[in-house]
C-alpha cells in the first residue's frame, strides 16, 4: 500500500480534495444531463396524456386535488381546447396493488366519461398482475368509453362491472381503485372550478 503516513491533516486534506473533485465532476455531469432528463420525463408525460386523451390538441393546466379517499393528492392535467374544458388527464395512484403501489394516467372527457387509461409505473407480478399493461392484455381497454356514473368501478366478483384478469383479482381491484380515485378527483376539481 502506498501512502503509509496517516497523519490527521493529510487524511483531512485527501478526503477534502477527493470530495471536492467528486462534487465538481458530478455538478458538471448534472449540468449536461439536466436537460435530457427533463425532456425525457416531459416527453413521457406528454405521451401518456396523448394516449389517454386521444384527439386532444390544446393546452393543459396542472392542478392538485386531494381525493375523498387515499392518503396523497392526485395531479390533474386539465385539458382545454378553444377555451372550453375538453377533459382531464389524471395521474392517479393506488396502494392496493399486489406488488405495492402503482400509478396510472386516466383520461376523462368533460362529462367524466373515461377516454383511456395508461399505466405509468407498476411492479405487478409478471404474467399475472402485469396484464394491467395494455400491451399484455385487453384488461385496461375495457374502461374506455365508460362513464363511472353508471359503470360500477368494481370487479364482477365484488358486484361491479369490470372483468377481472384471470388469477389476478387483487391487481384488477387495485386498478379499479385507482381509476375510481381519478374519477372522484376529477369530479371534485370540476366542482371547485365552478365555484
Amino acid at each position: 500500500m502506498a501512502g503509509k503516513e496517516s497523519s490527521l491533516w493529510k487524511m483531512c486534506l485527501v478526503l477534502t480534495v477527493i470530495s471536492i473533485a467528486a462534487a465538481a465532476g458530478l455538478a458538471a455531469v448534472y449540468e449536461v444531463t439536466k436537460k435530457p432528463i427533463e425532456e425525457s420525463q416531459n416527453r413521457k408525460r406528454a405521451e401518456a396524456i396523448n394516449k389517454v386523451l386521444p384527439g386532444f390538441a390544446g393546452t393543459t393546466e396542472t392542478v392538485k386535488v386531494m381525493p375523498p379517499t387515499g392518503k396523497d393528492s392526485v395531479t390533474l392535467n386539465m385539458a382545454y381546447a378553444d377555451g372550453q374544458l375538453f377533459g382531464a388527464a389524471v395521474e392517479t395512484y393506488t396502494d392496493k396493488g399486489f406488488g405495492g403501489a402503482f400509478t396510472l394516467m386516466v383520461g376523462f372527457d368533460s362529462e367524466g366519461k373515461i377516454l383511456g387509461t395508461e399505466v405509468l409505473s407498476a411492479s405487478e407480478t409478471p404474467g399475472l398482475g402485469d396484464k394491467i399493461n395494455a400491451d399484455k392484455s385487453d384488461f385496461s381497454k375495457q374502461f374506455a368509453g365508460k362513464n363511472p356514473a353508471e359503470f360500477q368501478l368494481k370487479v364482477k366478483k365484488d358486484g361491479g362491472d369490470v372483468d377481472a384478469i384471470t388469477a389476478a383479482t387483487i391487481s384488477s381491484r387495485a386498478y379499479c381503485d385507482a381509476v375510481d380515485r381519478a374519477y372522484q378527483s376529477f369530479m371534485k376539481a370540476k366542482e371547485e372550478s365552478h365555484e
Binding site: F98, G127, L128, K157, D158, T166, A167, T169, I170
Partner: protein, 333 residues
C-alpha cells in the same frame, strides 16, 4: 418415501431387513385408496394424468442416471414411481399433460438428481415440482374441476369451481363472514369434505381415503406417528385458537384439517424420510413448524393454501433440526 435407509447415520448400523424397494411399493399401495376416490370423482383424467406423471418421472430418472450421471439406473426401487404419483395427486385433474411432464422433469431433474439423487435431495421432489408449476402457471394450476360422482360425469362439459379454501379466502377478504360462506352453495359440507367431494388437486380431496393409507403405512412401520400427529395437532390447535378469538373471520379447526392438501401433506409429503428429521423430537418440531406455517399462510398469506410451502420451508430447516436433535445412540438408550 423412505429413501433414508440409504443415508448413513451414526454407527452402529442396524439392519432391519427392509429395502428401499419394499418401502416404496408399500407407499404405492397406501396411496391406492386416495387414487380410487379421485377416479370416482374426477374420472378418466385422473388416471391419465397419474400414468403420464409416473411414466415421465421414471423415464427422466432413467435417462438422467444413464446418460448424465452415467450410473446404473435404479428405477426399480420405486422412488420415482412414488414421486410421480404424489406429483399427480397435487395438481388439478384438468391440467395439460405437458405441464405434468414439465413438473416431472423439475421433480426428478432439479429437485432430486441435481442434489445427488436418491437420499441426497434436500426438498421433497413432488412438492418442488408442484410449487414450481403453481408459481409458473398460476391460472392452469388454480382452475379446479368440480368433483362429481362418476355416474354423472360428462366428458364434454367439465365445470370448474373454487376450492373450499379459495371460497373462504376470497369471501372473507370481501367482508363476508365465515358462517355466511359456509352456507354458500358451492361450499361442501363436512361429510362431503371427509369423503372427498370438493374441488381441489385430485389426490388430496378425500381425507378418509388418505387416513386409511396412512394407517396402513403406520402398521407396516413405514412411517412413524410423530410428524402427521404433530403437524395436524398443531394446525388444529392454532386454527382453533384463532377461531375462538373471532369465529366470523376464521374457519373452524376441523374445516382446516379437512380442506386443501392438509391430510395428504401431513401423511404422505411431510413424512418423506429423506427430507424430514431423523430423531423423534426432531420430527415433532418439524411437524409443529409445518402446522404453524400452513395456518399462517392460509389465513394471512396471499395464497389460499399453504401446505406445500410450509413443508418446503421446513425441509430447508431439517439439517439444522438434525444437528440440534441428534438421534440417541444405542449405547445411551
Amino acid at each position: 418415501m423412505s429413501e433414508n435407509l440409504l443415508q448413513v447415520s451414526g454407527a452402529p448400523h442396524v439392519h432391519n431387513g427392509e429395502s428401499t424397494k419394499r418401502i416404496m411399493w408399500t407407499v404405492v399401495i397406501a396411496l391406492l385408496p386416495a387414487f380410487m376416490v379421485s377416479i370416482f370423482y374426477f374420472g378418466l383424467p385422473a388416471i391419465i394424468l397419474t400414468a403420464i406423471s409416473v411414466g415421465s418421472c421414471v423415464l427422466f430418472e432413467y435417462l438422467i442416471q444413464k446418460f448424465v450421471l452415467k450410473t446404473k439406473p435404479t428405477i426399480s426401487d420405486g422412488s420415482a414411481v412414488v414421486t410421480g404419483i404424489l406429483l399427480a395427486f397435487n395438481v388439478p385433474s384438468n391440467l395439460s399433460w405437458w405441464l405434468v411432464i414439465l413438473g416431472a422433469f423439475v421433480a426428478i431433474g432439479i429437485a432430486k438428481m441435481a442434489f445427488g439423487g436418491l437420499g441426497n435431495n434436500l426438498f421433497n421432489p413432488a412438492l418442488v415440482a408442484r410449487v414450481f408449476l403453481l408459481i409458473s402457471f398460476p391460472v392452469q394450476m388454480t382452475t379446479w374441476p368440480e368433483a362429481k360422482p362418476i355416474w354423472n360425469f360428462g366428458f364434454a362439459d367439465v365445470v370448474t369451481g373454487p376450492t373450499p379454501l379459495g371460497i373462504l379466502k376470497e369471501g372473507v377478504k370481501n367482508g363476508g363472514t365465515v358462517s355466511q360462506l359456509m352456507g354458500s352453495e358451492s361450499m361442501p359440507d363436512y361429510l362431503q369434505m371427509l369423503v372427498g367431494q370438493m374441488g381441489g388437486s385430485f389426490g388430496e380431496v378425500s381425507a378418509i381415503a388418505i387416513l386409511i393409507g396412512a394407517i396402513f403405512l403406520l402398521c407396516r412401520k413405514v412411517i412413524t406417528w410423530h410428524i402427521p400427529v404433530s403437524f395436524l395437532l398443531t394446525a388444529f390447535v392454532f386454527a382453533g385458537i384463532l377461531w375462538l378469538v373471532d369465529p366470523t373471520q376464521y374457519a373452524t379447526p376441523w374445516f382446516h384439517l379437512l380442506s386443501g392438501g392438509m391430510m395428504l401433506g401431513a401423511c404422505f409429503m411431510a413424512t418423506d424420510m429423506v427430507t424430514s428429521p431423523m430423531s423423534a423430537r426432531g420430527m415433532l418440531i418439524f411437524g409443529f413448524g409445518c402446522g404453524v406455517l400452513t395456518i399462517i399462510i392460509r389465513l394471512f398469506g396471499a395464497y389460499p393454501e399453504g401446505v406445500s410451502f410450509s413443508i418446503l420451508i421446513m425441509n430447508a430447516l431439517v439439517p439444522l433440526i438434525n444437528k440440534a436433535f441428534k438421534p440417541t445412540p444405542y449405547s445411551k438408550q
